[in-house]
């Protein structure tokens, strides 16, 4: 397939995508980089000019910064752990013979289709609200005092909401992977004397490794940018308990309209995301080969 003409054609056909993505990446990034060294506040057109690293030092030195990084990581890792562990369990369950498998799959996949702001609104108002929410009603019914999810465990609550949205994704990928495991391999293990738990541990789990990798990769990309759910539910609080890096940038960009600092934040986020990506893709790229 690799004649010179086909290689030339390939380059030609690849170029629109590559060029568009390059523009999409470089132009805003370059502008962001430029802005990040400027004094630039939308609300102060008269204040402008080169600002050295002041925006960066301000952004990084802000007390919320370290906790934002920590919260971002906790959010990403938390959601990943929940979706993968529950995803595997649910996939194992759905993979069993049962009545109404199609309907079960449809119900299970549904949260994936919900707009993030709607999901956040639903959870915040109708479930987690400590006076009117269903959780509160449930605890009252059980004679417990209602738990203030968003006040007492803001990050965990957000993780719960986001995990709910992404669980179907993980479940379905893992389910498909499970179904692709050859039954002969499981039977061989059975003949070899492995009981169910060990078959899961030694045969199924390694088989799922590749799919887990994809789940981690795709989810990480989407989760690193999450802030809409935070905006709707906790506004990053109480304190900075649920402030993540994107939320911090949001605050600079759309509350302070401090474009310079927001740009600096954006650059910092890009750098951090790429560090994460570098290690993730290293590990994952290997797993995706072959």
């Amino acid at each position: 397939m690799s004649t010179q003409s086909s290689r030339a054609a390939a380059r030609l056909m690849l170029s629109p995508t590559v060029i568009l993505l390059l523009i999409w990446m470089i132009v805003p990034l370059a502008m962001t980089l430029w802005f990040s060294f400027q004094r630039y506040n939308l609300l102060y057109p008269e204040r402008s000019g080169w600002n050295d690293f002041a925006n960066y030092t301000r952004f990084v030195a802000s007390p919320a910064f370290m906790s934002a990084i920590a919260n971002t990581l906790i959010l990403v890792v938390g959601v990943l752990v929940i979706t993968i562990v529950l995803g595997i369990l649910i996939a194992l369950l759905i993979d069993q013979p049962l009545w109404g498998q199609g309907a079960v799959r449809i119900l299970t996949i549904s949260p994936f289709f919900i707009m993030p702001p709607v999901a956040a609104l639903i959870w915040k108002n109708m479930f987690m609200n400590p006076t009117n929410g269903l959780f509160a009603e449930a605890s009252k019914f059980l004679g417990l005092s209602p738990y203030d999810f968003l006040g007492q465990a803001p990050l965990a609550s957000i993780i719960l909401i986001v995990a709910w949205q992404w669980l179907p994704f993980a479940t379905l990928i893992l389910l498909t992977a499970l179904q692709s495991l050859s039954s002969e391999e499981l039977e061989a293990a059975e003949m070899d004397g492995a009981p169910a738990i060990k078959r899961f541990w030694y045969i199924m789990l390694p088989h799922l490794a590749r799919s887990i990798t994809v789940v981690v990769l795709i989810q990480t990309i989407f989760l690193l940018g999450i802030f809409g759910e935070i905006l709707v539910t906790t506004n990053g609080g109480p304190g900075t308990a649920s402030t993540t890096l994107p939320y911090l940038i949001y605050k600079e960009a759309l509350l302070d309209f401090d474009v310079g600092t927001a740009a600096a934040g954006g650059v910092v986020a890009v750098v951090l995301a790429n560090i994460v990506a570098f290690f993730a893709m290293r590990a994952i790229g290997k797993n995706l080969e072959g």
């Binding site: 002969e184 061989a188 293990a189 059975e190 070899d192 030694y202 390694p206």
Partner: protein, 330 residues
């Protein structure tokens, strides 16, 4: 130790009777081959013995003990699957050692057993590779290795060679035969390749639509097929089966004569050569004989016969006679 007895074993999937009822006795140390056309129930029968399927009725006993309800792991049998079913994420060593690990065997002891199996199977140099890095024949051997280490009462093979190419198949076939000679363990082997069946088996079980057509030694089946099905199925190229007046001459509904039992030169049948293939060692020709039909003939490599030649043929070996029910006549 590895005697297996099937008594009135029946298996149906839903409505379909796949095995209508089989009685079979496999002796300790025997090499038994199940042959039959695709879909005849060979795999099903083997999986019933393995315990991977439940019998619908009937009993299976192993070494005299009823094993019908035992789970696969408890039957003391080892199985080699058609796809090998190696664990792709484990090294060869781990693959072979897996049953021992599951049995909770002491690692040092397991190690010696693995090494011994590996040296028997010429795998010592590959112990650290993953299955993906092995050739078809090597994978096959790993699968056998995984079966050997457990020192099972019997080995079950389900078309273990069908994924290999022709040359490798010959080699592996011989390796398995040699293994049987050295281990002397009972082996039950499923194939639809009759060369494999003929060369490896002590005893062949010919299956057709879930029923046993004939049980016997390879040469038994070759020389005395009990019915038309076995006659047609065993032997390559296929036996020429001739019905009509020519058969009536011999007082039968159908007569059969093997291609290698026909000589070219003189004889009662005259015909025109259709296809003629010369392999150097052998020649295969198809001759269209008026009133008899197409006759396949296998001759020596030097047979100087070509497409379009008009030649005469003579039967020069055993002639098999079958009655109207397709059963062999004395």
């Amino acid at each position: 130790m590895g005697q297996i007895t099937l008594h009135q074993v029946r298996k149906s999937f839903g409505e379909v009777d796949v095995i209508p009822g089989v009685d079979l006795e496999i002796k300790d140390g025997e090499f038994v081959v199940f042959v039959g056309p695709s879909g005849c129930g060979k795999s099903t029968l083997l999986r019933l013995i393995a315990g991977l399927e439940d019998t619908t009725s009937g009993t299976i006993s192993i070494d005299g003990k009823d094993a019908t309800a035992l789970p696969p792991a408890k039957r003391g049998l080892a199985m080699v699957f058609q796809s090998y079913a190696l664990y792709p994420h484990m090294s060869v060593k781990k693959n072979i050692g897996f049953p021992l690990k599951m049995a909770g065997m002491d690692p040092a002891e397991a190690e010696t057993r693995i090494q011994r199996a590996a040296s028997v199977l010429n795998l010592t140099n590959y112990l650290d590779r993953k299955p993906g890095q092995l050739s078809g024949g090597q994978r096959q051997r790993v699968a056998i290795g995984r079966a050997i280490v457990r020192e099972p009462a019997a080995f079950l093979f389900d078309e273990p060679l069908s994924n290999l190419d022709a040359a490798l198949r010959v080699g592996m076939r011989q390796e398995i035969s040699e293994l049987h000679q050295s281990l002397k363990t009972t082996m039950v082997y499923v194939t639809h390749d009759q060369v494999e069946a003929m060369t490896m088996a002590d005893k062949i079980v010919v299956l057709n639509a879930g029923r046993i057509e004939q049980v016997g030694s390879p040469l038994d089946l070759y020389h005395s097929p009990k019915n038309l099905f076995v006659a047609g199925f065993i032997g390559s190229p296929k036996m020429n089966l001739i019905a009509g007046p020519e058969a009536a001459k011999h007082g039968a509904t159908t007569i059969g004569i093997r291609p290698e039992h026909i000589t070219v030169g003189d004889g009662p049948w005259e015909g025109v050569v259709g296809l003629s293939e010369h392999l150097g060692s052998d020649s295969f020709i198809k001759v269209d004989v008026a009133g008899v039909g197409i006759i396949n003939v296998r001759g020596p490599g030097e047979l100087g016969v070509h497409h379009g030649d008009r030649i005469r043929l003579a039967p020069a070996g055993k002639l098999h006679r079958f009655d109207a029910n397709g059963m062999a006549m004395a």
